[in-house]
């Protein structure tokens, strides 16, 4: 069914855009490296392929005047999400270009800002490409060429957005989103997993709770000792 296909593609595009956003955040920082630039390139190329595919799938139903109201509403919703995603992607690409030109990798004078981020982001890129791992194979001047290509791709994406606006006339404000405010809290699985991370993320910001952590460990140690003693006493008696 066309709609399911579109939804699946849109989810993939969403994932790719999110991963790209995440990678762009670290440009110019201490984790910036050739690998990062390669990952950026692969991610955005994948995102663009997906965008072209979705557009090809979504445009015919929306231009078809004989579509039912329900179906049309559904497609319009997908369209709005798609164009929003594409705008986010374009904005991130522009940021990547600006940051990439400001922080060239092989220039001697300007060091990368030491932001405290270490470690690679290959997991993120692999997630975007739905691959297990990534191979890195760039040459030395990769980032400079990459920037030129990035400029061209930004123009292409811009044209695509422009074209989309011209061809399909979907007034965005009439689209009713399915999700309500606070809907992100309702997703069960991811929320559960993220809550653990969330709690620990929150804890880090409290005024350095070393003393509290120490107290907690001592308390648990004492508790364990008490339990062990109780068991021994129970066994002996």
């Amino acid at each position: 069914m066309a709609k399911e296909e579109c939804k699946a593609l849109l989810d993939a595009l969403n994932k790719a855009t999110a991963c790209y956003h995440h990678l762009v955040l670290t440009i110019g920082g201490s984790a910036d490296s050739q690998n990062l630039r390669e990952e950026l390139q692969k991610t955005r190329q994948k995102a663009q392929e997906l965008a072209v595919a979705i557009r090809a799938r979504l445009t015919p139903p929306l231009r078809d005047r004989g579509l039912g109201a329900e179906e049309r509403a559904e497609f319009e919703r997908l369209w709005v999400a798609f164009s929003g995603c594409l705008e986010l992607l374009e904005a991130d690409m522009r940021r990547a270009l600006a940051l990439g030109t400001e922080f060239p990798l092989h220039a001697p004078r300007r060091p990368l800002v030491r932001t405290g981020v270490e470690g690679g982001a290959s997991g993120v890129a692999a997630r975007a490409l739905s691959a297990r791992s990534l191979r890195h194979e760039g040459e030395r001047d990769f980032d400079v060429e990459d920037l030129h290509q990035l400029e061209r791709e930004i123009l292409k994406v811009g044209e695509m957005i422009q074209d989309m606006e011209m061809k399909v006339n979907v007034p965005r404000w009439t689209v009713q989103a399915r999700q309500t405010a606070g809907a992100e809290l309702l997703s069960s699985a991811s929320a559960g997993v993220s809550s653990v991370g969330g709690v620990s993320v929150q804890q880090r910001m409290g005024p350095c709770d070393l003393s509290k952590a120490l107290a907690a460990t001592i308390f648990s140690a004492v508790l364990l000792a008490a339990v062990a003693l109780a068991v021994c006493v129970a066994k002996l008696s």
């Binding site: 994932k15 201490s30 984790a31 709005v80 060091p111 470690g119 999700q179 991811s190």
Partner: protein, 526 residues
């Protein structure tokens, strides 16, 4: 230099230089050898490098720029407020503390480097970004967008350290008055005394500025969230999807990196929060657009026509385009041209007299023209108009000390009821002028002067152009003859021996002149 934090909102910050200066400071701070000492931040299990303490930053600034401690502190605070540096313990308070509180750098993109139109097209995406950020925060904090920090957060225009310390010891006064104002705004019937027992459950004042809902409701993340939800409701699907995906993507990284990135994002949105566009903002926008619509605009076809007319009229008069008679002084060293076109000359050239017909202003600006016009007006018995106009010009361009005396003289001579040379001004202008005469300044007679000017222009000037006087002037005007040109211009003998450096040394006949004419030669001769 911008003294405050980065201004809220999408307006591109007008000052570029201060940001590039800050950037240079930050880059030099990052220098591995001479920059600020970096330490590692230790959390429970993770260790994150590249942290600096406030103390180190201040000391480094003092040492590098040889400034006093207050100035270093202020500079450091500015760096924090613009988002180059962010505090790790207390992320909402954007100031630099000269103690062991840790900070970290972040990469900050100067939006000023992007062109203005880019800023405005990025704006909807920025709202979307902010919505996604708030949704992510919502997920992470399980629905409570309120900060659970013990110290309350401040307004985006952060109070100075003195003010903030003042807030804490006196919570009763601080917590009540803004809160009461806000409550007064929202619920008119709510008694001011009942603030502490208000609906929102403000904590009793002993806790300080704890969970202060009413104080900063306008800038509360929850309020922003609701507002954004109302505004970009149609893209809320995308917001939720992206928020979830971004969090999942972040999980692929090490915990330390995740924390750093989360901190960075938080600081970014603290510094660059999109403004709450209240009704006033939109009203002002509407007013601005209405004024812009009402401005007079000239169609380009009309002004191009005027331009063409001007060019065709002036073409023959331009010395560079149409040559000047008798000859160009710069070429021939003959200054007859200048002599004939001097400001006051007995017989004006024909071109000059023709120029008086182009516009009234030309006529008045030329002294000879003005004199002849005065003669004409005397024949018509309206010479006092021109005299009045001249007196007003003198007032406008004269010295400040003479202004009162001159105003008085003009009044006595031209404006007083039984004056000798009374000018005819309409009653409204006369009233206004007489009122202004009480406090004389150099522009007090401007209205009257303009009135008389328009009168002369509409009335006397056309008659002057049709008059016999003007026609006689045209007939008498002299047309200078062009000097005969020699075949080889560079072999000219100059009329007057002048030490002209334009004479080429290679010309054979020019050489003796050059030798005779040059100052060295002249000295040698005598």
């Amino acid at each position: 230099m911008a003294a405050g934090p980065a201004p809220l909102g999408g307006h591109p910050r007008a000052q570029k230089p201060h940001l590039s200066k800050m950037e240079r400071v930050v880059v030099s701070m990052q220098d591995p050898d001479q920059g600020v000492k970096m330490q590692s931040q230790r959390l429970l299990i993770t260790v994150i490098p590249h942290a600096v303490t406030g103390n180190d930053v201040v000391e480094w600034l003092i040492q590098k720029y040889c400034i006093a401690e207050d100035e270093a502190l202020h500079l450091g605070t500015l760096l924090v407020q613009h988002g180059y540096l962010y505090p790790l313990r207390d992320p909402r308070r954007l100031l630099l503390r000269p103690d062991e509180t840790p900070y970290r750098f972040q990469v900050r993109l100067n939006w000023e480097q992007t062109p203005y139109f880019w800023m405005s097209t990025l704006w909807p995406a920025a709202e979307l970004d902010y919505a996604i950020y708030l949704a992510k925060k919502n997920i992470r904090k399980q629905g409570a967008l309120v900060d659970h920090e013990k110290v309350g957060y401040h307004h985006p225009s952060p109070a100075t350290p003195a003010e903030s310390s003042q807030r804490n010891p006196s919570p009763t006064s601080g917590a009540h008055s803004p809160g009461s104002k806000l409550i007064q705004m929202h619920k008119h019937t709510h008694p001011i005394e009942g603030v502490s027992e208000g609906r929102w459950g403000v904590h009793p004042p002993e806790l300080g500025v704890g969970k202060s809902f009413p104080l900063e409701t306008f800038n509360h993340p929850q309020a922003h969230y609701d507002q954004l939800h109302r505004k970009i409701n149609h893209t809320w699907d995308l917001v939720v999807m992206q928020a979830r995906e971004q969090l999942r993507a972040a999980k692929q990284r090490r915990k330390g990196d995740r924390l750093v990135i989360a901190c960075q994002e938080q600081t970014y949105w603290l510094v660059n929060r999109p403004p709450t566009k209240t009704v006033d903002f939109y009203k002002r926008r509407i007013e601005c657009c209405r004024k812009a619509l009402g401005r007079t605009r000239v169609k380009s076809s009309v002004c191009l026509e005027a331009y063409l007319k001007f060019s065709s009229q002036r073409g023959p008069h331009d010395p560079l385009l149409s040559g000047c008679l008798p000859s160009n002084p710069w070429v021939t060293d003959d200054d007859t041209y200048w002599a004939m076109n001097a400001p006051s000359v007995a017989v004006p050239t024909k071109l000059r007299v023709e120029q008086w017909a182009f516009s009234f202003r030309e006529l008045l600006e030329d002294p000879v023209g003005r004199a002849h016009f005065m003669d004409f007006l005397q024949t018509e018995f309206s010479a006092e108009n021109l005299s009045f106009w001249e007196a007003c010009e003198e007032l406008r361009h004269g010295g400040q000390a003479q202004v009162p005396a001159l105003v008085d003289a003009v009044y006595q001579q031209f404006l007083a009821p039984g004056a000798a040379r009374w000018v005819n001004i309409d009653s409204r202008t006369m009233e206004r002028t007489l009122e202004g005469l009480g406090r004389p300044h150099r522009h007090v007679l401007d209205d009257a002067q303009l009135h008389i000017y328009m009168l002369m222009k509409k009335d006397s000037y056309p008659r002057f152009l049709k008059s016999d006087l003007y026609k006689d002037l045209l007939a008498e005007a002299v047309v200078p003859l062009e000097t005969k040109r020699r075949v080889f211009p560079f072999m000219w003998k100059p009329r007057h021996s002048s030490p002209s450096l334009a004479l080429l040394p290679t010309s054979t006949s020019g050489e003796p002149e050059a030798a005779a004419g040059s100052p060295g030669g002249g000295d040698g001769e005598t």
